[in-house]
Every structure is written in structure tokens, then in C-alpha cells.
Symmetry: C2
């Protein structure tokens, strides 16, 4: 039951437009493709495109929904006795070890990164996604620790955790663009994660331990 034909059609249309757009972007780059072209290729009007997507960049990042709260989710789901930072490290290691496409370890990810790299608008959108991730992590830490609004620690720890995340993603992006194989990069990033953990202080590594007062 539930959603009527209307809802379904909307979802389909939206998905279709996004797919068509992404295809064009991967083929010719972000800036070389005009919204009018996308509309034409998707057989809708330009206005319809803007009905679904607030900005051109959203056509590209549509599939990355759910990424912005992944870190926060990992933290909220940390094991008993585990800190926020260690949970994130563990989950990251898991994804990297599994050569998961969720962290960009997949054939063809380099095309994606190259498009982003060449378009300032897309890079800028990426930064804003990271800002969102940071805010979500800080909010999660605040809730999990019950810290007050004037306590600077949740924000600081969030910064550290996001630094871990960023370092991993920047490296994966760079190596993939350099043409390396996912399995190779996986091994390398696993080593990087050890370096990263080494650079975290005990304070960070033991913040928000589940079960601790």
C-alpha cells in the first residue's frame, strides 16, 4: 500500500534525471554540460530539473545521500567500552579492508574524482558535505556525552574524528586518480590508518567511551 503512483513517478523522474546528468558529467565534465542539455537529454524542461534539484551540483552528489551522517551513526553505534574515535577507526578499517565501494574503493571511482577535481563548484560542495559531517559528529558526541553547550570538547573531538575521515578519503581519492588498483590502495590505506591512530592522543582515543560515566 502506501505511496501512490504519483510518489513513485516522482522518485523515478528524479532518479532518471540524476542518472542522465551523472552520465553526461562523467563523460564530458561538470562545467561542460549545461543544465539545458541535461533537461533535453532527460526529456524534461529545465524548470523540472530545478523542481527536483536546488542546484546543478546536487545532480552530481545525489547518490551520496546518507554519507553525511555515517560517521555520527558509527559513533552512536559504538560497542560497549569503545570510544567514539576507536569506533570510527574500526569501522573505517572494516570498509577499507573489505575494499568497499562505499569508501571509493572500486573500479571507476577515479572518473568520479576527476570530475570533482576539475570543477570548483563540486569541490566546494564536498567541503560543505564535510561541514555537515562535522556538525553531525559534534551533535552526536554532545548527545552521547551529555556535554553542555558551552563545553568546547565535543567540537574539538569532532574535528579530530573528521580529520581521520578526511585523511582517509583524500588519500583514497588521490591514489585512485593516480590509477592504482582498489586492492592496492586498500592495503596502503590500512597502513595509513595505523599512522593516523598513532597521531591521536589518548584523550581523543578515550573520549565518549560507551559505558563510562
Amino acid at each position: 500500500m502506501a505511496e501512490g503512483l504519483r510518489e513513485r513517478k516522482k522518485r523515478q523522474t528524479r532518479q532518471y534525471i540524476s542518472d542522465v546528468a551523472t552520465g553526461l558529467f562523467l563523460e564530458r565534465g561538470f562545467e561542460a554540460v549545461t543544465v539545458a542539455e541535461i533537461a533535453a537529454a532527460a526529456d524534461v524542461s529545465v524548470n523540472t530539473v530545478y523542481n527536483y534539484f536546488p542546484a546543478k551540483e546536487d545532480l552530481f552528489f545525489d547518490r551520496s545521500a546518507g554519507v553525511t551522517d555515517r560517521l555520527a551513526r558509527w559513533i552512536r553505534g559504538r560497542d560497549a567500552g569503545e570510544s567514539a574515535a576507536r569506533a570510527v577507526l574500526r569501522e573505517l578499517r572494516g570498509e577499507v579492508e573489505a575494499v568497499s565501494p562505499r569508501v571509493g574503493l572500486m573500479e571507476g571511482y577515479d572518473r568520479f574524482m576527476r570530475v570533482i577535481h576539475a570543477a570548483p563548484a563540486l569541490r566546494s560542495r564536498l567541503w560543505s558535505l564535510q561541514q555537515e559531517i562535522h556538525d553531525n559528529v559534534a551533535a552526536a558526541l554532545r548527545e552521547e556525552t551529555g556535554a553542555g553547550a558551552e563545553d568546547p570538547l565535543p567540537d574539538l573531538i569532532a574535528g579530530q574524528v573528521c580529520w581521520v575521515h578526511e585523511a582517509v578519503f583524500v588519500t583514497i581519492g588521490r591514489e585512485m586518480v593516480a590509477g592504482r588498483k582498489p586492492a592496492e590502495v586498500s592495503r596502503e590505506v590500512l597502513a595509513l590508518l595505523d599512522d593516523i591512530e598513532d597521531l591521536l592522543s589518548e584523550k581523543v582515543l578515550n573520549y565518549a567511551v560507551r559505558g563510562a560515566l
Copy 2:
């Protein structure tokens, strides 16, 4: 010898346009002011504005030249026996303690921040400035330590150092916008710097010690 009248006039024109623009931005916000208005107010053509500034945002951030390599300069100028991170902490403490306008501790800085906050294009430019800072720091660390291109440490440490810098600036911005007095914020940020230092690992605090092998 030296620069002719032509050079001087160019400099003046550029400065004048930037000043006029900044005035309008502070008065009415970034997006509410059109480039055509700026041109009219500065009594030049729109094309002339674009001759001097590649984009509208550059009109706003023109005065912040030299900020992008400040961290790197601090690092290169660290004392004998001092690490990169400690040099940055020391310099930051100095600026904050001196209630220096260079770190935003000045009357009226809140207007500046508010304009930035309200304009996505400006925020995005800020991120790109931080990216530059990061790259400069990483480059400085690489040179100072003689680390190879495949060594991930300079990048990681640069991330940590920039995290320090960012945390300080975000806090100053937030508190200034909240209407606090520079002297108050100074005291508070000094305390924050202690918290920050506490969160840095020994590895980070002892990276690139001048004089060490």
C-alpha cells in the same frame, strides 16, 4: 626608476574598487550587492572590475592576502628546539593574548563574519583559503623535515596543525558574532588553546623539532 605612474594608478584603482565593494558588502550583504552597482559606485565599468578581480568573492577577501602562508611562515620561523606544532601554538597564543586584529579580535569583526556567514559563496572561498593554508603547511613541513613525497606524515601533521588553527578561528568568529568583547574572547580562546594542546599527541607536538635530526 621603480614603478611608473601607470603601476601606481593601477594599484590605486584596484584598492579603491576593493574598498568601495567591501563598504557596500558590509552595509548590505554580499549577495544583495551586484557587481554592476560596485562598478557604478567606483565609477568604473563592470569589465574593469573583472580586469582586477577574477570573481566577485575576491573583492571581499582582497585584504586577507598573506593569511594563507602565515602558518607556514610561523613554522619555518620556529625557535631552535621547538616543533612545528608548538611554534604555531606559541604564535597563536601571542596573537590572542595581544588581542590582535590579525586574528579577528577587534571591534567590528562581527560585521565581517556575519557577511561571510550569510553568503555561501564567501564561505566556500574561506574553505579554499584553508585548503591553501594546509597545502602551504604541508609543503613547509616537507621541506623542513626533508620527508619524501611518499611519506604521509607531513600531510597528516599539517592536518593537525590546521585543525588547531581552524578551531581557534571558528571560536573567535562565533564569539565575536555573538557580540562578545574582544578582550573577553581573548581570555576564553587562551583557555581553549590549552584544551587544544591537551588533545594533541606527543608525536604531533614533537614533529619537526628544529635542530633534531
